[in-house]
Amino acid sequence: METFQVHILAADKTFYEGPCVSMTVPTSDGELGILARHSSMIAAVQPGTLRYQVPGEEPRRAAISPGMVKVEHNDVLVLVDSVERPEEIDAVRAQREIDESREVLLQKRSRQEHQIAQATMARALNRLRVKNMGIGR
């Protein structure tokens, strides 16, 4: 199968750079599949599961946070705050974060705290989901 170059960059590290066969990105309009020779586009990435397949390997998945994806001349750039492999995710920590943010949401705190807690919870839930999918495979 034809391949294309991907650069997956997180704020704290370069996650993956190299060839890729196919890739699925969660966007605000639903999952977006990218194959070689995709037309040029830029999309907003939502927190969710990123799937990508390196030639000759099993598809890999990772939990990603909001950001953007750009396709240009068979070159895909994924820019997000954080990317984590299932094995890097600490299920216990994610669960604890979910519990903590749920507690904050239950108490009537300020709007800001509410929003931060909501965002934390969304991230933690997403991480947990990716982690559990990784095990089920």
């Binding site: 704020a11 040029s40 830029i42 953007m68 240009e72 800001q112």
Partner: protein, 299 residues
Amino acid sequence: MTEVAGTKEIKTRIQSVQETKKITNAMYLIASTKLRRARLELEHTRPYFKALRHEIKRIFRTANDVDSRYFYPIDNDTPREGTYGCLVITADKGLAGSYNQNAIRRAQELLERHPDTKLFVVGEYGRRFFTQRNIPIERSFLYTAQNPTMARAREIGAQLVDGFDRGELKEIFIIYTDMASAMSFEARSVRLLPFHRTYFDTPAGEQAVTEPFEFFPSVRAVLDNMIPSYVSGYIYSALIDSFCCEQNARMTAMDSANQNAEELLGELSLKYNRVRQSAITQEITEVSAGARAQRQRKE
């Protein structure tokens, strides 16, 4: 000899200088380790940040008629009226040369220019400085200067962007210390939001957009998604950059403290030896004088 201080006093003095030197030396070593680690982290964030800025720039040029609250209106880029927000990054501790003073001076300049500014302070030093002078602080982030993480930067960024989105803050500034090279650094005051249209204009010679991009779901949505990341990314790299400078400044300060201690120790030990010698000389003179006196009496 005109030495007044006795050997005992000089000895205690030497000991205390040695103790201080031990501390400054330890601080030097700690700072250098922290600096190495922080620099490594800075290297990790660079590619992301560079790419992000680059893409915003390009989106902006592809669709430069886009109307977003994050940009100045097309034909009007005079500073906005109203409350500003300013994030000031300082250290948790002093003993770092002029590092803290420089950042605080920048903040004071901004306050003078625009008194209606809410301060968001990172670091214990800055917090104490402003509270002592009764300058109100909107929010202070403790324990962040020591350990800059993406989660912290996201939290700070979310607050600033939230204030901006709701119109409480009209402009957002950040004051941090930038490491220009390994040896020199300077405190900088940068406006984070809103962007100047010219800010993203690039020098000629950069890769031009050959085909128009398709935007999902819309240019605005993409920008709205990217700007908070950009802000938290900027804050993160500013935090790390400042942290590097702090450690560097502390290393320099501690290094000169060590040198001063060495010098002082040299002087003191010279003095000590002199005093000791003169004491011995005096004793010998006394003994021999006494012996001679005894001999003379016998004769």
